[in-house]
Symmetry: none
DNA sequence: GTGGTCTAGACCACT
DNA sequence: GTGGTCTAGACCACT
């Protein structure tokens, strides 16, 4: 899987890395049980600090998206993925809320906003590369 | 308008403040041309530092949501609000993308996700208090 | 003479007022010896504070662009205008310098910059309204 | 690069700092991709507060003259510099206009004014020290 | 070590 | 009284 980072972004690198892996899982490009590169090799591949990869992996493990085995290495969660806890629902709404509010201010009506969400949803699930649409 | 901040949150206070004001505008609770409290009085009201309010106001001004008149104070943008630039569209998509990806991982299908967006959209535009839903 | 102020600009109103009057003189729309409105009437006309007009007039007088007579009121300097002191030359260069530096950074070559200055010079001296070009 | 500030000037320190850096880029003394001192070290070097440097850097970043990498520090924009947007052209003209008007009032003809601009342009691009001319 | 955020407190320009 | 600027000092996230 190709990881694309923007080192100038003000989104922390470990967050970008987490997002890329989560999107990989969402799209099916990363299958349950599929091995991920080791902390060391991934850090070397994309030219970032070991600690940064480690932080991303640790958080992904905490949230249940991956498993880290001392010997076998890192794999995409082979069992049930996290699911829709109410904690998650609150966090999701808190993230969406300001985005939707800004969209309204900028003149998007509900149809337009739903269309954008639909497009992104389709785009992710149809397994295309990030830069495709 | 009631401002609700979570000082424990890892979202910076000035960002929360910006979001609250943007949502106020989106909901119609803040009308174009309506005066906002001065930097000092708002800071005193919500018990934070004047500079933090100033930063939020300055950024909102830069993005075109409010106007700052040197001595008259601050008002909600009375002229055209920012609008849908392509810069904005990219930023919006970049914000939505990881949220949607995580929703997919957690088993939300498209209908459920659109329903969540619909609810939040309606909720904001029907001018309810934040804690209502 | 029509005064155009931008109350939202971060240029102080008194400075804008000074600039408008200086440009009026430069263009010939304001002739030497020509009377200017009183502080009171100008403030009323353009809807700003007395003190603001007063400050602009006082500074213009200090710099020699106008005369203020207790009885006769305010007139455009009927005698020699300020002239090119070395103080002025330094101030002018200090003002131009950062503008030129930014123009260079943004890719303007010398011809383009000189053309812009030429256009503005012609524009002012041909006595057109501000929004003409 | 040597930074020269006038703490007595009524031009804010952060503006002077921005101007010096922009002129450094214009002159070629600061090359694309070249690192700039950290907020803290520059503040210490020139004896001003860290926040003042931070403000200058943040604004330069917003205008696209520099990049700020979270931990690696600050570099001169290695990619394309801002360029000539119409926003910029308007701002530039608005800055030049009162300067030109005053020059006219003080008796400069167009040749003289163009000569001054030419001299400053050459002076900046020939990479001389500020106090040279 | 780097920038980001926040506080507390001060003085100033503008109106 | 308003926002703008500056200082001093602190803690934090990130790498």
């Amino acid at each position: 899987m190709i990881i694309e980072l923007d080192l100038q972004s003000d989104t922390p690198i470990y967050t970008q890395l987490m997002n890329q892996i989560i999107e990989g899982i969402a799209s099916g490009r990363l299958q349950p049980g599929e091995p991920l590169p080791s902390v060391r090799s991934l850090a070397a591949d994309i030219g970032i600090n070991l600690h940064t990869v480690n932080k991303a992996y640790t958080l992904l493990k905490q949230e249940g998206f991956i498993q880290i085995h001392r010997q076998k290495g890192v794999v995409v969660q082979p069992d049930a993925l996290p699911g829709m806890t109410s904690d998650y629902a609150h966090r999701r709404d808190a993230q969406l809320r300001p985005i939707i509010a800004e969209a309204i201010c900028r003149g998007m009506n509900e149809q337009q906003l739903l269309a954008v969400v639909h497009d992104l949803y389709s785009h992710i699930t149809t397994n295309e590369r990030k830069d495709a649409p």
